[in-house]
Point group: none
Chain length 185, copies 4
DNA sequence: CATGAATGAGAGTTCATTCAT
DNA sequence: CATGAATGAACTCTCATTCAT
């Protein structure tokens, strides 16, 4: 889905509004004001507000590097999230806040399927990693999944909620190494 | 803060509305309708909507059993969360959704200080556990914190988002044991 | 369907707005202004604009006197329309303007079933009248129906469009007598 | 007023929009979409929306055959309406719906003068017919006018509202013969 | 302790129209 | 001859809250 310059501008603005002030801050009026046009002008570029929200969600979808396999894929995925978020800090405030869109079923579906896509992918590579002996085999895959992704989500959330009070790259690396240490064998 | 019967009823209703339909579902009108009174009647029991939201947040505060120390405290805390949530499933849909209240600074502060209170407590006992040799010492405390709490939060969230599709007690136990396994020594 | 005083006031106002200025004049803002309250206040009394429109339509439904039969019923019906309209002249401007509500399917259905109810009733009594020899028998019932109702509708419409430029009771009586004259035998 | 091809296309499209969905369906956006151009493009061909509406109204004006006189003219006029409408069925849905344009005074005037022109013409020939003894003389001319035109209007309206559920030529002929029967002498 | 009625502010959206290109 | 982008005005409707009863 190709986007015009204005569409990108709107999505960017919307993301920022969402990050600073939550859902109740994400209004068409605020979007319009932020980019300096009238409200109806926004409708030239997005059919309605829902389309804008969906546009934001699409930004959450990390470009997963497919060339890796097994344990490599896992750590790459983790690192990728940290890089993605540190490159666009506002994301930290909303990327794991699925509840923000509760009640808007179309958006909920998007998020749900995105979550499942990622989970299935990670599961697959976790199994490969276990079979290759690159990761501990004495704990179930779903626990493994939660033990890896849970901390990453929490780290990102803390970074956002603290208004970027620490260096997420440093703490991200620290977390990654810690995970590698305890999940070895 | 003592609560009248009606106040409890309102908070309960509000929590359910929030869980099923998100923030945009938590309106004074819906609250009033759900408990079968008029809107002004709700104002007899709570000064305004913000007070209701704060009342909900207070419910999140887990009653922490203070008699334990070190590693015992940690695992108890984790188990406590699972018990709390399985006893009141709607909590699963909102308890870790701090973003829901973004923009309402008073509420944000409440959540922030609650999070910090828990974190400080866990930090303290994690240090004790490390000093006692009950938990691995080769990873930093904050990483340890994230590796324990992150997965718990994710588990609870998945349970809520899946509409309680699995037995959280079983998966909670599984997660606890996995954490104990990998964090030993 | 019992109506409160305010509801009657709103329906009355709405009817007048519709009559003077057509559909594009029938806005919630105009209704609110006309009765001297704010827009939201109107929503206390009607769930939405559609309910108001439906309320107006219900007013079109003539109270049909059931005690008559055959030819008596027919002429009574015709007279009833004239009386109804002369008692509430604004009706003349909208009562036969089914097209006003085109596109609002729920309202269209209401109008359609009301039209059919009246038509069926008149058909029944026209047949009785023919069997009794009170009306000419050499023309089909549906033509008879159109020859009686068509002129009544046109008369009412002309009265409304001319801004009540003539005495509808006089012209109504004239029309009635003319119909009786030509449809005799 | 000569019309370009594009202008005819626009008027045709507009007429269809008006017939299917009423006034609220007749928007510049819909017109533009229906003929596959942008909105500003429509303004190349008509100064504004009012001009388009006026263009539609002009289509209502029946080409009256002037060679007939008296009773011949009357029946010809009636037949002409049926032919006109059966040739362009969408007309049936709007041609007698003067209320559709209520509030747009310029358009109202057009309709009013068109109605009067036809009425005056028919009056003139009705008088001739009465003088020639071709039609009953014991009822006033305006009643006669309503008794002839009223049923025709109703027939056309019923045909449109029923979505052309019957053969209007058959029913039109039936109506015409019925009128001729009862108005004889 | 509760209600009916009301309100200002603001939500998302659509309208006819204009202007630079 | 056509478009993309924009706009002021207006639309229906919902929000949290207040006040007289």
């Amino acid at each position: 889905m190709e986007r015009t310059k204005r569409q990108d501008e709107i999505l960017d603005t919307a993301l920022h509004l969402l990050a600073n002030g939550g859902v109740k801050n994400l209004t068409m009026k605020h979007i319009a004001e932020s980019i300096g046009v009238s409200e109806p002008a926004v409708y030239r570029h997005f059919k309605n507000k829902a389309e804008i929200v969906k546009g934001i969600i699409e930004k959450f979808d990390q470009n997963i590097i497919l060339q890796n396999e097994g344990i490599e894929f896992i750590w790459n995925f983790v690192e990728g999230r940290i890089v993605q978020v540190s490159a666009a800090p506002v994301l930290a405030k909303v990327i794991f806040a699925e509840e923000l869109f509760a009640g808007e079923s179309e958006v909920e579906d998007m998020l749900f399927s995105m979550m499942h896509k990622h989970r299935d992918l990670l599961f697959k590579h976790l199994v490969i990693a276990q079979n290759n002996g690159d990761i501990c085999q004495n704990i179930p895959v779903d626990a493994l999944f939660r033990i890896i992704i849970g901390p990453v989500r929490l780290l990102v959330k803390q970074w956002g909620m603290s208004n970027y009070a620490f260096d997420i790259k440093v703490k991200g690396r620290e977390l990654l190494e810690s995970l590698q240490t305890i999940l070895k064998k």
